[in-house]
Amino acid sequence: MTQQESTTNEEAEELRIGAFICECGVNIAGAVDCNAVADYISTLPNVTTAVVNKYTCSDAGQDEIKKAIKELDLNRVLVASCTPKTHEPIFRACVEEAGLNPYLFEFVNIREHCSWIHMWEKEDATRKAKELVRMGVARAALLEPLQSSEVPVTNKALVIGAGVTGMQAAMDIGDMGFQVYLVEAGPSIGGKMAQLDKTFPTNDCSICILGPKMVEVNRNPNIEIMSYSEVEEVDGYVGNFDVKVKHKARYVDIDLCTGCNSCVEKCPVEVPYWEFNEGIGTRKAVYVPFPQAVPLRALIDKSICIDCGACSKACERGAINMDQEDTFSDLEVGVIVVCVGYDVYDPEPNHDFGFGLYDNVITTMEFERLINASGPTMGKVVRPSDVVQPKRIGFVQCVGSRDVNSNIYCSSFCCMASLKNAQLIKEKYPDSEVYIMYMDMRTPFRMYEEFYNRARDMDIHFIRGRPAEVTENEDQNIIARIEDTLTNKIENLELDMMVLSVGAVSPESTEKIRQILKVSRAADGFMMEAHPKLKPVDTTLDGIFIGGMTQGPKDIPYSISQGSACAARATRFLAQGKALTEGITIAVDEDICVRCEVCVPMCPFQALKMDDDGKLEIITALCKGCGTCAVACPTGALQQSHYKNNQILAQVKEVFAYEEV
C-alpha cells in the first residue's frame, strides 16, 4: 500500500489557529457555556488562541479578529457562531483585510445547529458545541489558500432571437458602445409582435411601435443583424465564447435586392402563407416576409420553387442567385443573450372546443391577421366558412393554459388580448355582439383594470364559464352550450364565429439552441432562470442570459423590461472587461490520474475535457465547484479544493473521541 494521504497536517508551515467563539448575545450563550468551549478548544494542538466575544460579527468583534491575526500572526481563523449562509462572506472579507487568504477561514455553526435546537439541555449543547468546534479545528488545519481567478472578457455580445426582447437587449448593449451580433432565424427581425394588429392596453398599432424600433436597430452602428441565420455551435465560457453561425441560403443577394416586389409579381407558384399569416392568404415561392420587414429583402422558398426563372428575369438588379449556398461565420463574443420567443398553443391535436372540426373556430393569432389592416383581408373580419362578416363573435379564454391536459401555467397575456380584440370589433362593427367566456379575467398591471372596465362599458358580454360542448348547426354557426356560474343559467349560445384565446408554449425549434448552450429546461418547457428572485434573467452558466417569452409566458411590456434587464446583466462583464470565477474549483493530481475519463461526462458545465495527448484538462473558469466529479473519480486524483477528501474525513474523524475526553 502507499503512504496514506495524511489527515494530520505535516506541512513545514507551523499552524497557528485562532478560534473565536461567539455568544451572539443570549442566542448561543443561552444554551452553550462558551467559556467551557473556549477552554477545551485551547487545549487542542495547533490552536494558538481561543477567545469568547459577545458579538463576533459586530465591528468590535471583527476588529478583535483582525488584531489577533496581526499580533499572534495567525495563519488559520475559525469562527463558531451562526450560519455561514449569511455570515461567511462577512468574515471572509474581514480575514482578507487582515492580510490572510479568505479561504483559510473555517465557519462552525453553533447557533442554528446547536444552541437554538437544544435550548433546555445546556450540558448536551455544550458538549456538542465542543465537538463541532473540534471538527472545525481539524478541518482548519488542512485548509489551503485559494484564489478566485480572473478571466478576460471579449467586449462583444451575441443576442439570439430578434423579437421585441432581443431588439431591446441589442439596442441597450449597442447604445452602451459594445458590438452586438443579432442573430434571427426568420427572414426578418420583429418576431411575433410584427403579426399583431393592436397592442393592449393603449390599443396603439403594434407595427407602429415595432417598426421604428426595427429601423433603429438596423441603423445602430454597433448592431450587426444576421437574419435568416441560426447558431450551430457554442464553445468556451464567460468572456470567451466561440460561436459558429449558419447563414441559410436566401437565393437572393441581399446587397442587390431592394425589396421592390417586382419578382414576387411574376412568380407563378402560390401557397398558403403559414409562417406569417397563420395560413390565411397566400404567398409566392419568392416573397418579402411583410411590408415593414427589416431587412426588406426577398427570399425564395426552394421547397416549392419550380425553377421557372420568372423572378430572375423580372429583377433588373439581378439579385436572384439560384446556386447560393449556406455560409458560416465564426464569432468571438463575451456574453450571450437568448430570447428566442414562443409559439402559440396549437389546439388542433386535441380539437379543443371543436378547432379543426368546425371552420368557424379560429385562434387569436388567426384573428390578429384577419383584423390587421396590412393583413391578407386588409382588416376585414370575415369568417372562414363563407367569408361573411360575423355578427356574433365569442372568445373562449384559457385555451391551452391552466389546464391539466395541456399546460398548467397561466399564459398571462390572453385575457388582455381578448379584451383588446373584443373592443376592436365593437369599434369596427358597433352592431356586433361579442361574448367573452372566461374563468377569471386577469388584468394585473397599469391601465389593465381600466381597460377591462372600458370593455364592460362597451357592453361586451362576459360569461363566467366556458363551453362544455361545441357543435355546429347547418349554417355552420357555432352552438356553445355554456353555464354562467354567476347566474347559474345554462344556455346554448349561437355564434357566427368563435375565437380560442390560446396561450404560449416553448417552441420545439428552440430545443436545439437550448441544448447547444446547455441551459437547463424548467418543468413547463421554457428555459430555466438561475433563481426566480435573486437572478431572474441569469442562467446557471455564467455569461449566458435569458429574457422574454424564452423564460416563460409574459406580455410585451414585461418582455421589453426583461430585454433591458438582460442587457444590464450582460454588460456587467463587458464593462469590467474581466469576470471573476469560482474560487472553489477542481484540481487533478497528474501521477494518480489513470485517464479513465469517468469524470468528463459528469460535469454539467463541461469544465472537464481530455486534451489531445490524452491528459485531463480542467477549464477552471467553467468549474462551479460542486465536486461531483471528485466522487466519480475512482482513484481520488480529482480533488475539489476547500472540500478535499482529507478535509472532509478529518471532520468525520473528530466527531468521535475516546470516552474520558
Binding site: 502507499t2 479513465c596 482513484t635
Partner: protein, 384 residues
C-alpha cells in the same frame, strides 16, 4: 469466404503444431499468422515451464508463439493486464476476455487493435492442490502426467506410459480438490464475447482430438481466420450440424452445473449473521494489496481511493480498503478468482465480492465483460 457467425472446424497445417496442440493447434496457428502478417505487433502467450507452471510473456517472435501450444488447465492466470497499452493478439479463457473488455471500458485497452482468440473453458485448477490430488485421488506421480482434459463432467489424466484415468469432477470437488472455487459457479464456458470462440467441444468423428471447433464472433474474428488461411497456417471447413449440436449440449451441461453451484454457494444468510460473517472472514487481512494488484478489472494505479484513505494504523472493525473495493467492483467483478488465488491468508475474496456483485448486477441487468459499449453503471452515472 468466411462470414461473421460461421461455425467452423479447422486445424493447423503444420503437423508439429497440430500434434502438440490440445486439439488441432488452430488457436496457435491463428495467433502466429496474425503476428507474421503484421496484424499485431506482439502476442501474449503462456511460456510453458512444466505441466503445472507457465508464465505469460509478450513476444514478437513467431517461434515462441508456436512453442506455446497446448491447453494448461492447472495454470489459472488472467492475461488481460498484459494487453494494456499494446497492439496484441492473445488467446483467452472467457474470464480473460471479460477482463480485456472491462479494461477497454476504462480506456486502458483499445479493442480495435487487440485480437481476442477465445478458448472454451470448463474450469482451471490450482497447481499445488492438483499435484496433491493426483497423488491422493489418482495415485499418479505428478511428474508422469503428459496431458489432461475435461470431458463429459470427468477430469481425465494421460500419463507417459500411455494409459488414462478419469474421475468425475463432482467427486473430486466433494473431496475439496478439482476446479478452483470460482470456476465451479462460472456460467460463461464458451467465450461468446471474444473475436473467435475456439475449443474442442463439438469436434467429433475422425477429427476428434486433432481439430478445433471455431465460431467467428465478429469482424475481427473474420479477419483473423481469413488472414490465417491466406498465410497457409490453417485449414477450415464448416462444422456439421451434429458437431454444432454436441457443442451446444456440452456447453448447456457445463453452464447448468455453474448455475446450480452458484445457487448453492450464494444462498443468502439471515440478516443478523451477515456482518459477523464478513467481519470474521476479513479479520486476518494483512493489507498486502495483492488482491488489488491481481484484479484484472481494476485499472487504478498504486494510489486509489481504496489505498489512499486506508491505513494499517486505523482502529476500524472492518478494513476500509475492502469496503471501498467491494463497492467499486460491485458492478464490474467478473468472478475470475485471481484475488482468492493470491490472498496470503486464504480469504475467499471472490466469494465475498460476488455476494455483493451478484445482487447489484442482477438489479441492473448488467453483465460485466460482455459488451464493450455498456459502461460500468457504478461509475458511468449517465445523466442526460
Amino acid at each position: 469466404m468466411v462470414e461473421v457467425g460461421d461455425k467452423l472446424v479447422g486445424y493447423a497445417t503444420d503437423d508439429e503444431v497440430r500434434k502438440r496442440g490440445a486439439s488441432g493447434g488452430l488457436v496457435t496457428a491463428v495467433l502466429a499468422a496474425a503476428l507474421e502478417k503484421g496484424m499485431v505487433e506482439s502476442v501474449v502467450v503462456l511460456k510453458h515451464i512444466d505441466e503445472y507452471e507457465a508464465v505469460p510473456i509478450i513476444t514478437d517472435d513467431v517461434e515462441e508463439v508456436l512453442a506455446s501450444t497446448g491447453s494448461m488447465h492447472s495454470v489459472p492466470v488472467n492475461l488481460a493486464k498484459y494487453a494494456v497499452d499494446r497492439k496484441v493478439a492473445m488467446p483467452g479463457k472467457p474470464c480473460d476476455i471479460k477482463a480485456v473488455i472491462e479494461q477497454s471500458k476504462r480506456n486502458k485497452i483499445d479493442l480495435d487493435n487487440t485480437y481476442l482468440v477465445g478458448l472454451n473453458c470448463g474450469g482451471t485448477m490450482p497447481p499445488v492442490l492438483t499435484k496433491q490430488m493426483l497423488i491422493e485421488m489418482y495415485d499418479i506421480d505428478p511428474e508422469d502426467v503428459v496431458g489432461e482434459d475435461i470431458e463429459k463432467g470427468k477430469l481425465i489424466y494421460r500419463t507417459k506410459d500411455g494409459n488414462e484415468k478419469a474421475i468425475s469432477i463432482e467427486e473430486l470437488e466433494e473431496a475439496g480438490f478439482g476446479r478452483r472455487k470460482n470456476c465451479q459457479y462460472c456460467q460463461l464456458k464458451i467465450p461468446t464475447n471474444s473475436d473467435l470462440a475456439c475449443g474442442n467441444w463439438g469436434v467429433i468423428g475422425d477429427l476428434a482430438g486433432s481439430a478445433t471447433f471455431c465460431e467467428v464472433m465478429n469482424e475481427k474474428g473474420k479477419r483473423l481466420i481469413e488472414n490465417a488461411v491466406e498465410a497457409g497456417r490453417i485449414e477450415v471447413e464448416p462444422a456439421s450440424d451434429k458437431a454444432i449440436a454436441i457443442r451446444e449440449k456440452v456447453n448447456g451441461v457445463m453452464v447448468k452445473m455453474g448455475e446450480t453451484t452458484q445457487e448453492k454457494v450464494f444462498t443468502q444468510m439471515p440478516d443478523e449473521e451477515r456482518l459477523p460473517y464478513y467481519r470474521e472472514a476479513l479479520a486476518d487481512c494483512i493489507d498486502c494489496g495483492g488482491c488489488k494488484l491481481a484484479c484484472p478489472v481494476c485499472s487504478c494505479g498504486d494510489d486509489a481511493k481504496c489505498t489512499l484513505f486506508h491505513n494499517l494504523g486505523d482502529n476500524y472493525k472492518m478494513s476500509m480498503f475492502h469496503l471501498v473495493r467491494l463497492l467499486h467492483l460491485s458492478d464490474s467483478c467478473i468472478g475470475c478468482g485471481q484475488c482468492t488465488d493470491v490472498c496470503p491468508v486464504d480469504i475467499p475474496i471472490t466469494r465475498i465480492q460476488m455476494s455483493f456483485s451478484i445482487p447489484a448486477q442482477t438489479r441492473l441487468n448488467y453483465k460485466p465483460g460482455m459488451n464493450a459499449d455498456e459502461k460500468p453503471p457504478f461509475f458511468e452515472v449517465m445523466i442526460q
